[in-house]
Symmetry: C2
Subunit: 142 residues, 2 copies
């Protein structure tokens, strides 16, 4: 058992993987601060990202490691990587190559707003309705 | 079973809670784009955040809903809320009240960098070593 002070104030990466062996990975655009995507990394994805400076994630649905952009060409070069206090999340400030990070064809996965002040079933509003690229041609169907 | 097109392209919030009943919530500083924290919301935290415009989370360690800042006074007013493509994560652009969001006493939970190009056990570097406030006086010990 590692002491909390070592995790929170230490100078060693001691990732706290969850029951599925994953940490949360948040990617923002290094230039604009826009949140591009939230994904997950297993130990291998984390190590490969640190070693190479190219974002690697672990797909929970496909149960496999994936280098971001390996199909679409829309890779992410990591400008800076940070870890949070309890080391169960990392922040990647990235340079997003190509038109976008989202598999729906948009720059960011967060293309819809949730207006505040609503109660009950919430209505959404598009902030980025148009697609920056055609997902059907960018991604192979497995 | 809701169709993928309805989740990804629809105008209704259909949050995809995980096995623990949670979605991931990412809070960034609305003015600077800095990532402040990554936390979780259950259905009630999500509904209260939307209704009130004040960030509410669900603490996994304490198993309870919590209004951010209820102890420390360091509340978060939500300027804009967004949801991602598959609706398992929300992004809060917030105005952070007080000196910081992190329970360690810093503005952001992401106060350490993971230098790139390393292999094996990774060394960290502080980016925000000094504490913006004294956590011992800001937080009650339960």
């Amino acid at each position: 058992m590692v002491a909390t002070s070592e995790i929170e104030e230490g100078l060693t990466l001691l990732p706290k993987f969850d029951a599925d062996g994953l940490v949360t990975a948040v990617a923002t655009d290094a230039a604009t601060g826009e949140l591009l995507m939230v994904a997950h990394m297993n130990e291998e994805a984390l190590a490969k990202t640190i070693a190479s400076g190219e974002a690697h994630y672990f797909s929970r649905s496909r149960r496999k490691l994936w280098r971001k952009g390996e199909e679409s060409g829309h890779t992410q070069r990591v400008i800076e990587m940070r870890v949070d206090c309890d080391q169960d999340a990392v922040w990647l400030r990235v340079e997003q190559k190509g038109p976008g990070a989202c598999h729906t064809g948009r720059k960011s996965c967060f293309y819809r707003a949730v207006p505040l002040g609503q109660t009950g079933e919430a209505a959404l509003e598009f902030r980025e309705a148009d697609k920056a690229f055609d997902p059907a041609s960018a991604y192979r169907k497995d």
